[in-house]
Symmetry: C2
Subunit: 287 residues, 2 copies
């Protein structure tokens, strides 16, 4: 289930990279070459590999790229939904996986989307990005890697939470190794994940492992810039965006949830904790 949740995120992030490159005007064969080159590096995985193959396939009937003839309505068997629901039950943030599931359900609203496309306008300034296409493509690849690490971190954190909750004593390093050897995600990254868990069996989040912290520090700026460009150019990027928000929230010693706790205490007397001493406190806010 967790494997498939990660797989949903992987697939959605590849689709977002593809959508961005389409916006840049790349043809399907050109994008195939990009994915093939990514497959040689840190992004290497079964899904990247088959994406390269898919994008070079022509439709025998029309001669167009076959992918262009496929309806943009994603279906699902329910495993991503299951992973998202269990993450909610266990209180584990897995926003990229959740967004990947949501993106599939949204894609299914084809009729509404077509109607909306005539009414709801996009970005005011679909201006040039100021960057040559090649630089942008490299940035998208780096952003994809960073977003992917965040999604895998969420999936492994979900496994760990279940492990603690149910006392399963899951062999995390072995799981990463098994996923590297078979299954759908089969990402090169999994070997690093295996090693990280072998080195730190109690690792609470992949982002804290030196290998991945280093990777994120290197790649996070590219993720920021791709997210900003997606926002400004009207390219829907729910998974990229949720990975970045996850990263930024996770690395925040202080989040704005203090205000949220104050609101809860105001309207529901739910109480709050303080930063300077233990205990639960309630304020009569309206006095």
């Amino acid at each position: 289930m967790v494997h498939n949740g990660i797989e949903y995120a992987d697939m959605q992030m590849i689709c977002e990279a593809y959508a961005f490159m389409q916006k840049l005007g790349l043809s399907a064969p050109e994008m195939s070459a990009v994915f093939a080159s990514w497959n040689e590096g840190e992004l290497g995985s079964y899904l990247i590999d088959i994406t390269a193959q898919i994008l070079q396939r022509a439709d025998p009937e029309t001669g167009a790229p076959l992918v262009d003839m496929i309806l943009d309505t994603a279906e699902q068997k329910g495993t991503g939904k299951w992973a998202s629901q269990v993450a909610l039950d266990l209180g584990v943030p897995a926003p990229t996986i959740a967004q990947a599931v949501s993106a599939r359900t949204l894609s299914a609203l084809k009729g509404e989307r077509v109607a909306a496309s005539g009414v709801l306008t996009g970005a005011r300034t679909p201006a040039a990005t100021g960057l040559p296409a090649q630089a942008l493509i490299e940035r998208i690849g780096s952003a994809l890697l960073a977003a992917k690490v965040c999604a895998y971190a969420q999936g492994f954190a979900l496994l760990r939470a279940a492990d603690l909750q149910y006392g399963w004593q899951l062999p995390m390093a072995t799981i990463a190794g098994v996923w590297r050897a078979g299954c759908i995600i089969r990402a090169r990254l999994l070997e690093d994940i295996r090693q990280a868990h072998e080195a730190q069996p109690e690792l609470s989040n992949l982002l804290l492992a030196p290998r991945f912290a280093t990777l994120m520090v290197q790649a996070q700026q590219d993720l920021r810039e791709v997210v900003a460009l997606s926002a400004l150019h009207g390219v829907a990027a729910p998974a990229f965006m949720s990975s970045l928000a996850y990263y930024d929230a996770y690395r925040s010693a202080r989040l704005p949830a203090n205000l949220l706790q104050a609101q809860r205490d105001y309207f529901g007397a739910h109480s709050y904790q303080r930063t300077d001493r233990a205990g639960h406190f309630h304020t009569r806010w309206q006095d």
Copy 2:
């Protein structure tokens, strides 16, 4: 339950606006004044009102703003989680609500966040935004309104899906009216929502109602710019971002889910539909 899902999103979006204004260097009393002014306009709501009150409250012990003394670890009673799980069961995209729940669970990982804050770096260039603070604050208010409309649209779409699924014949206009009169969200916007449902009882999504389409067309550019700035400046904005991604996906006549369907057909022979004729098709991709 749906009311509370929307409430979670409302609260998280207010927190993100607050975090952004903190980044701009505004003091708690200054932010209180901003929220009080927003409360006079289209953003007017119980939650905006109490936020203005909360931000002007001093801690009797330290003299500091009380909100600053509150621990940034959000708690929950589970209604937002319930709404998210039901949305998944009904296949309704409700990403902003889901992100609001996820943000609460992430805020609870205080120890991990503090550890991560020393390791995971932020934006490379926390440079000036190039805009005067007042202009930015207005933009944040407009972005908050746009993000809020998307969250309410998700909540009402969830109600509608349940209505169709279970044959409840929900009086949508009356529900909006009831929420306007009581409950926590109690937003001025709800009167427009009531009218929209009264005018179009079969309305599939609020974004398609003329009043809200017009509002979104006016405000979407501000949401884009606030999201881009959040990304570039390292302010975690999961709800703002997911609302924008929802808007951009919803108004896309063509999404990249065609590639996703090709992937599913490649690795699982799940078949796909074509854009040019009916039926389900399978390609032997590896030939």
